[in-house]
């Protein structure tokens, strides 16, 4: 087979191009990062100790702190509610772990739910605009409220019901405004962002900070010395629907 140098170089160039773009497409489909980094440098996580939380059944301090620091309005219509962190009954949160003989008081014990900041978030996979993404440096599932088109595909994809859509204008429902954090417009989806704005200032999430029972423990899973890692290593904890493979990063002590 005769081949000139020019043809050879052209062919080689084209093959490299095909190989590289093919690899990128595959990496994209598998949700891998292209720079070859295996994991985020940090992976923030939270442990909810429901035993401590339930000692104060009427407490809503974490919810209030979150709402006021993030301009989350309180909307009376339950179908239009915006919720970043809220309470649900244990039996509804852990359907698979239901024990029929569990006493009603324990079944109805409230626990805290919020975005799970999954390792492998389905909401990020389905978003058609990249308005939600997993941040490389700390594993937070972030949101860009200026890019979101409000298609609500992420709400269908989230197995935890963690996402809220602004069915109506949220600004008219806000009683007090925190000028340090953006408000949202109607027609976009929002959720817990693990207080990225406070983390940037070296503070912890607002909910964990105000909890009087110290029931919310926040930390970095990639740091073996962190409190969360020690707790997860020394006792049994549960995650919501782990069999789905989403890798939720909120752990529960029941």
């Amino acid at each position: 087979m005769n081949i000139t140098r020019k043809q050879f170089l052209g062919l080689a160039g084209a093959s490299i191009l095909v190989a590289v773009s093919g690899k990128q497409v595959l990496a994209e489909l598998e949700g891998e990062r292209q720079d070859g980094k295996p994991r985020p440098r940090k992976q923030y996580a939270m442990i909810v100790d429901t035993r401590k939380c339930s000692t104060l059944p009427d407490c809503t301090k974490c919810i209030d702190a979150c709402n006021s620091s993030h301009n989350v309005p309180v909307i009376p219509n339950p179908e239009h509610e915006i919720k970043w962190i809220w309470k649900e009954e244990v039996a509804n949160v852990f359907e698979a772990q239901q024990i029929p003989y569990l006493e009603t008081t324990l079944k109805e014990r409230a626990t805290i739910v919020l975005c799970n900041h999954c390792d492998n978030p389905p909401c990020v996979r389905v978003c058609p605009t990249g308005a939600t993404w997993k941040r490389e440096e700390d594993g937070i599932v972030m949101m860009d409220w200026h890019r979101c088109i409000g298609c609500r595909y992420c709400m269908a994809a989230c197995p935890y019901g963690s996402r809220s859509f602004n069915w109506i204008d949220p600004r008219t429902e806000l009683k007090v405004l925190n000028p340090a954090f953006p408000t949202r417009t109607k027609g976009v989806v929002e959720k817990c962002v693990f207080c990225y704005e406070r983390l940037a200032l070296g503070q912890g999430p607002a909910c964990a900070e105000v909890c009087p029972a110290k029931a919310l423990i926040f930390g970095d899973l990639n740091d073996p010395q962190s409190e969360v890692r020690k707790m997860l290593g020394s006792g049994l904890t549960l995650r919501r629907r782990p069999s789905l493979g989403t890798g939720p990063n909120i752990y529960y002590i029941l």
Binding site: V25, E28, L29, G31, N77, P78, E79, H80, E81, K83, E88, N92, V93, E95, P122, R125, V126, C127, P128, T129, G130, A131, R147, C148, I149, G150, C151, R152, Y153, M155, A156, A157, C158, P159, Y160, G161, S164, F165, N166, W167, I168, D169, T185, K186, G187, V188, V189, R241, L244, G245, T246
Partner: protein, 412 residues
Amino acid sequence: MFMLEKAVTGSRKYWTWISALLLVILVAFYYYMRQFDYGLGLTGMGRNISWGLYIGQFTFMVGVAASAVMVVLPYYLHDHKEFHRMTILGELLAVASVVVCMLFIFVDIGQPMRILNVLLYPQFHSVMFWDMASLSGYLLLNIIITLAALHAEQKGLPVARWVRYVILLSIPWAVSIHTVTAFLYAGLPGRPFWLTAIMAPRFLASAFASGPALLILLCMLVRRLTGYDVGRKAIDALAVIITYAMAMNVFFLSLEIFTAYYSRIPDLTEDFNNLYLGIGPHSTLLPWGRASIVLMVISLGMLLLPRLRRNHVTLVVACVVTYLALWIDKGICLVVGGFMPSPFGFVSRYVPTFPEVMITVGVYAIGILMVTVLYKVTLAVKAADPTQFAYVPEDKHKATPAVGTLAATEVK
């Protein structure tokens, strides 16, 4: 070039119809502006049932659009000459259906002014990106095909050679649009009702029954209104296709039901209980689920009996029943049912509001307006050549090759 001048001359009846449609569209537009102003809170959707009537209609109409392949494939690939007079009507129905699909997505968007973000920041890992790409491509293909076919017909020539390749491409493309639409649902981890590999085949089966059923009804309407007859054999052949597709759809549905109830996995059984047996006090879907089952049984029964299928009066009834059964199944139960129960185990109530219904009706009115105008132009082109317009029964058909079939042009 688009021959739209043929759409602006018409009888009094034609203009009354056009005006009525425009009026409905105008009223719907008013409600859309209210939704635009107030937000999607104007609809019956909420945090638990976050997709409703709009996305249901979108999903159903993708099927109607894809079903054009049921006339295109036999006609162009197998030279099934009976479909000669019907094919372009099917392709034009696909054009209107794709536009309707896109409008249903548009009215469901919370921030419609930002819709171009899908193109500005394309996300190749999102099925929605691929759905948009496949739908736009399918629309483009069908516009090219129908325009080329009409121009060829105007000149009394077979369609150009290159158009045949576009037509060939449109066949797998039609399958792709409904497959990708099924993937929108079938790839979500937390919704067991949708998480099934049979979603795409079942979508295609129900589409290939509902779309052609609508096409038969339209062809009969066209014959009554204009005298343009697609031919008895075409209708009968399409009715057989509907019968096979409906049988497959019922078969696929029963496979789903077997898997759920024999495995007795609560995640699976709950979803079918919700549709057909009722769970909790808010089972708004129960009457719809049951109605679709009853209508499917009636439809399949009527289609399977040759005497009823070949009688065009009972065939019309069978087509209406088929269409209704699948519209309820896919346009209402499939999407809303997927959100029940919620991730916390609740069954929420979803009832579309009046503005939501009006916007839905308005989008359909735009589709009907498109079908009216496109059919009007096509029939005007055909009427210019009386040999094209008048129906010649197949047995008396001379050896003239059907315009534009692959086989006919291959011979030369």
